[in-house]
Amino acid sequence: MSDHENVLDHKVHRDDVGAKMGMWLFLFTEVLLFGGMFLIYAVYRYQYPEQFHIAAMELNTNIGTLNTIILLTSSLTVALSIAALQKGNKLLSMIMLGTTIVLAVLFLVNKFFEWSTKFAHGIYPGSSILTSKPNGQILFFGLYYVMTGLHAIHVIIGMVILAFMLNFIKRNKVTTDNYVKLENSGLYWHLVDLIWIFLFPLFYLIQ
């Protein structure tokens, strides 16, 4: 018994399961945030099926597909980063985390070019070309900008968090024995990927 207590005393005060529970609860508030937007999307797509169809033709499926592949791969690298740290391979963990951040930047660069092309075509919220279109198309592009925009903000936040984790691993603040911070950051990153998994077919694949 005293032996057991010693072990407990020796342990730093830490509750990894509790930390993950907190993270999951936070993720559910995120799911509700995006869920509300998907709900609006569903209702308006139901009301204006043809208009959504026509408006979606404007979107570039290739760029959407490329960004899907980039995000799925970044989800893999962040998972590999955690696995590497669990196995005690600090260097591989850092390389994988660095790769994830590079992929996130690539995603945003694509997004930038995609949006600039739309802007160049005069399709942006409040533009005279867009407001002259029928209601359904205005709603489609409104939802497109808000939902992919909010998603892009999540990508930026995720990138910053992962950069902090990279620094933590480097300074041994996140280690093989104490990596719940990295795990939680990974969960956030996977959520960003999950949301994109639904955004992609709903905006880019209406043919």
Partner: protein
């Protein structure tokens, strides 16, 4: 972490990643084929399969404590109820 923690190897992650890419290829290909009103259903079905892979393997839900599965079921049910209630309102208004 707790001693009974299940660690997933690199191989599993790579296999899941390949599966995710394969499903992406399928969904893009199918979108080009005209399947009428099934198109949306199939696209959402594939998205759901992809999410299940990400949640179970990448996010470790399959290997974590049951409480996380309960959390997930609870939030999923909440979203479902909100969608069903809204569409009942829209359809029978």
């Amino acid at each position: 972490m707790s001693g009974n923690k299940h660690h997933i190897g690199y191989g599993t992650y790579v296999i899941v990643w390949i599966a995710l890419l394969a499903f992406t290829a399928i969904t893009v290909t199918i979108a080009g084929v005209s399947l009428g009103r099934y198109t949306l259903f199939i696209a959402l079905l594939i998205a759901a399969i992809k999410s299940a892979l990400v949640i179970n393997i990448f996010m470790h839900i399959k290997f974590d404590e049951p409480i996380f599965k309960i959390f997930l079921a609870l939030s999923g049910t909440t979203i479902l109820i909100i969608f069903v209630l809204t569409f009942v309102d829209i359809l029978y208004r």
